[in-house]
């Protein structure tokens, strides 16, 4: 009875978020771009992009507010965000990796896409109180949020017992998709490409492959150390890295409306220079997920059951 009400409540929020997001994407974002391009001429990308990022953050926050979350939910989100922020702050001092991204993914898996997004966004915001706020803050919030959201969407957390399956069959889909996508990227590079291969193609094709693969296996990915770390590696590298590179480019205002062709090249250069950093970040995430991902998810599940998060 209780669960049923929660389910419907969950559905309602989902619908609400869908409508708000739809309005924002279909109306506000094009309007912003139009106004920006029409009236602000060609060099206001920093401002416009900041607005767009804020639009994408807003529906999550607003729906969360409307839903009037319970105290337990708030506390869980606050604890997980604090942990993710602390993981980033503390680990960066001791080792080259940071545990924050892994924790955001874990939070997304065990608390669902909504909370996963909020944990990511809030954690990054809080983190930047210590590391320094900047125009990059909304971008980073968005990236972490999306990672948490995605993790919540694709992992199956109903079959806790099957967690240790390590069945390659289910992982096969996404992995194959990504590999195919990277293959396609390589082919397109052989046919049309100039310059080195490690550029934007790797990110763009990778992102498409990853998304397709994840859509195929939606809600079905098993939670075991291998799948977790594979997911961590790919999503951090492709999604976080890909978006943050755009952010760097937009911030440095390297795009020039009349010179799209030229800016593709600068984009390539930027993406190549981003590969080592993104790869370290992704490796760290995969590493932490491999070591404690599954264990921490079990612990969160336990806390949820023990304290009646579902009641």
């Amino acid at each position: 009875m209780q669960t049923k009400r929660d389910m419907t409540q969950y559905e309602v929020t989902r619908h609400k978020r869908f409508y708000i997001t739809a309005v924002l994407i279909l109306v506000c974002i094009p309007l912003t771009i139009f106004v920006g391009v029409r009236f602000l001429s060609d060099r206001k990308y920093m401002f416009i992009s900041l607005l767009i990022i804020l639009y994408t953050l807003l529906p999550f926050f607003m729906v969360f507010e409307r839903r009037r979350p319970r105290a337990r939910e708030l506390v869980m989100i606050a604890v997980m965000s604090a942990l993710a922020a602390f993981g980033t702050l503390a680990c960066s001092m001791m080792i080259p990796f940071q545990a924050g991204t892994a924790l955001v993914i874990v939070a997304g898996i065990s608390m669902g896409p909504e909370s996963g997004f909020l944990v990511g966004a809030i954690a990054r915001f809080v983190c930047n109180f210590f590391l320094g706020q900047g125009p990059w803050t909304p971008w980073q919030m968005f990236c972490w949020g999306i990672l948490g959201f995605l993790a919540g969407v694709v992992f199956n957390k109903v079959d806790l017992e099957k967690m240790k399956s390590r069945s390659f069959q289910i992982v096969r889909g996404p992995v194959l998709c990504v590999l195919c996508a990277i293959g396609a990227a390589y082919l397109s590079y052989r046919w049309w490409g100039k310059g080195p291969f490690l550029g934007w193609r790797l990110y763009i094709f990778g992102a498409i492959g990853l998304l397709v693969g994840l859509l195929i296996q939606r809600d079905r990915l098993p939670i075991d150390d291998l799948t977790l770390s594979l997911f961590g590696l790919m999503s951090t590298f492709i999604i976080y890295g890909g978006i943050m590179n755009i952010c760097t480019m937009v911030m440095s205002s390297a795009i020039d409306r009349t010179q799209i062709d030229m800016s593709w090249k600068s984009l390539t250069a930027l993406y190549i220079s981003g590969v080592p950093y993104d790869f370290t970040h992704a490796l760290g995430t995969a590493f932490f997920l491999f070591l404690f991902g599954e264990k921490v998810i079990r612990k969160i599940e336990r806390v949820k059951i023990k304290y009646g998060m579902y009641r």
Partner: protein, 556 residues
């Protein structure tokens, strides 16, 4: 009309056989100060949580809980939140927001008061509790005692009629606990708020209580004024688990067993003792136990003129510490808050390095992080050691790095479970254990590494008297094996009873040190209740057993 009434309440937790509460019937009048006592796990918390509908435990319930003659379940949420205040054990976990002022206002915000009202109420509460000087601070800057006082004040800001407190002082040091209890007394006397308090520290709360209710195994064994309940607990069928927790004065009275009114405070105890004895008692001191000189104990760790500070620009926390720890002894470091006890402990264990002076382990200085001594540290919170999902795996984790065969590991874990009396809980999650059990599990984890020096940081915090006795036995067992045990504690009574040597720290150095009897009789304030009570009549009677023994020798 009773303020709160339990009418034949029984309660069962889901998936457990025994009842957590059995036919509990209590009436609590308005403005009464009620103390609930009993060993841990006797159902105190379950009972108290029934008073707060929003956090009432889930399970099967029979009987009725009434609030002003109406069922508590029918009380609407707003009234329940406002009229019944609830304060729990842990000072840290109850705080929600990051600023003191915000925390004070939290409850009032929930009730939907406007800015002006909240401002006034918060101002009132801050003044009542003396919080105004730290009103704008971050909560992370506060001490444990201040945090707990803040928790109390933020509940009181909602102006409740009934205040329910579940062992609120168990995590505080004696000074802070005393202040907290004084604040409670002030609330009770000046505002007429009903107070229902569960406690282990009966020494201080018995004099405050209008009524004491003793519980055991989910039912009420005795209820009445403190003197009667004390009398009951010490005379009952055999002496039950609660006896050790009674105030020393009451224990002495009970053991001597003469007539007259049962004393409650040290003052009453002194008068009573003096009335009992002739002006000049025949025997005034117990013989000092002869030191066993046959086996000179080896020095395990030694600090020589050690100075320490946490950061370069900081102040010295430890200033010229000189101390020795011998194998096979229980060495207690006592002293007020912030005198550097914990720091001294960690310096002795080689966890911190002094910037001046030396710490020697078995006579050699440490080199490159490699101790020549195996040291085990039990942190203040045992949770700091827990990694696994079950008790058994937890112990396995300790042996994870060792190379001995699995069978050998299993044997040692089995042995440890038996030693700690945790066999029945081997499959339980460490976080489902009670505080005392968690403490023992953490200790077991450390002992599996076969340390030669064991460091304990406030191990008796939050333990009921029974668990304290268990802990003392374990520690004595360790000392018999030749292990050096150093503990930092606020618990003077524990130190007086069980320590081989005590040292008092002040301002980063040891100001006095010696065997408990000589040590405590040299202090006049910072000493046990038994000593304070018998001072001037007996010498060096620091535990209640000493006083009883001396009385017996004087023919009483």
């Amino acid at each position: 009309m009773a303020q709160v009434e339990f009418r034949d309440v029984s309660f069962w937790y889901p998936m457990s056989d025994g009842a957590a509460l059995q036919h509990v019937t209590i009436q609590i009048e308005q403005a009464e100060f009620v103390v609930l006592c009993g060993p841990s796990g006797c159902g105190k918390t379950t009972l108290l949580r029934h008073l707060k509908p929003s956090i009432a435990p889930y399970g099967k319930r029979e009987g009725q809980v009434l609030y002003r003659d109406r069922s508590l379940a029918q009380l609407d949420r707003r009234a329940a939140a406002q009229q019944i205040g609830y304060v729990r054990q842990s000072p840290d976990e109850q705080i929600v927001t990051d600023k003191v002022w915000h925390e004070l206002a939290f409850g009032l915000e929930s009730l939907g008061y406007d800015q002006q009202t909240i401002r006034r109420r918060v101002a009132e509460m801050a003044s009542f509790f003396g919080i105004q000087t730290w009103f704008r601070r971050s909560v992370s800057e506060l001490s444990g005692g201040q945090k707990q006082l803040l928790n109390l004040a933020s509940v009181m800001a909602m102006q409740p009629q009934v205040l329910v407190l579940d062992e609120p002082t168990s995590q505080l040091d004696p000074i802070a606990a005393g202040e907290f209890l004084q604040a409670l007394r002030k609330i009770n006397l000046e505002l007429g708020v009903t107070i229902i308090l569960s406690e282990h520290r009966l020494e201080e709360v018995f004099p405050l209580a209008d009524r004491v209710i003793a519980m055991e195994d989910g039912h009420i064994t005795c209820s009445g004024p403190a003197r009667e309940v004390g009398d009951f607990l010490s005379r009952g069928q055999g002496r039950d688990r609660m006896f050790e927790g009674l105030p020393a004065v009451m224990k002495i009275y009970a053991q001597i067993g003469t007539g007259g009114m049962c004393p409650l405070t040290v003052r009453e105890g002194r008068l009573w003792l003096q009335s009992l004895l002739p002006p000049r008692a025949a025997v005034t001191a117990l013989p000092q136990p002869a030191e066993s000189r046959t086996h000179p104990k080896p020095v395990l760790a030694e600090a020589k003129d050690v100075w320490f500070r946490y950061s370069r620009g900081g102040v010295d926390v430890v200033r010229g510490l000189d101390a020795q720890v011998y194998g096979g002894e229980l060495y207690c470091l006592i002293g007020g808050n912030g005198v550097g006890k914990t720091t001294a402990l960690k310096l002795l264990g080689g966890i911190y390095r002094p910037y001046r002076g030396k710490v020697l382990h078995r006579g050699t200085a440490m080199a490159n992080n490699k101790n020549s001594l195996r040291v085990g540290l039990l942190p203040q919170d045992p949770q700091a050691l827990f990694t696994e999902i079950t008790v058994e795996e937890e112990l396995f984790d300790a042996l994870g790095d060792s190379r001995c065969p699995d069978r050998e590991k299993e044997r040692r874990i089995e042995q440890m479970l038996a030693q700690l009396e945790l066999q029945a809980l081997r499959r339980a999650n460490p976080y489902d254990l009670s505080g005392g059990e968690q403490q023992r599990l953490a200790l077991g984890k450390i002992l599996l590494l076969q340390p030669e020096l064991v460091l304990l940081d406030e191990p008796t915090k939050g333990l009921d008297p029974f668990f304290k006795a268990v802990l003392a036995d374990i520690l004595k067992g360790l000392a018999e094996q030749g292990i050096g045990v150093v503990m930092v504690t606020h618990d003077i009574e524990f130190a007086a009873e069980h320590a081989d040597r005590c040292a008092m720290l002040f301002d980063g150095q040891i100001v006095s040190q010696g065997r408990p009897r000589a040590f405590f009789s040299g202090n006049s304030f910072y000493t046990t209740a038994a000593d304070r009570m018998s001072r001037g009549v007996f010498e060096g009677a620091v535990t209640y057993r000493d006083v009883v023994e001396l009385c017996r020798q004087n023919g009483i």
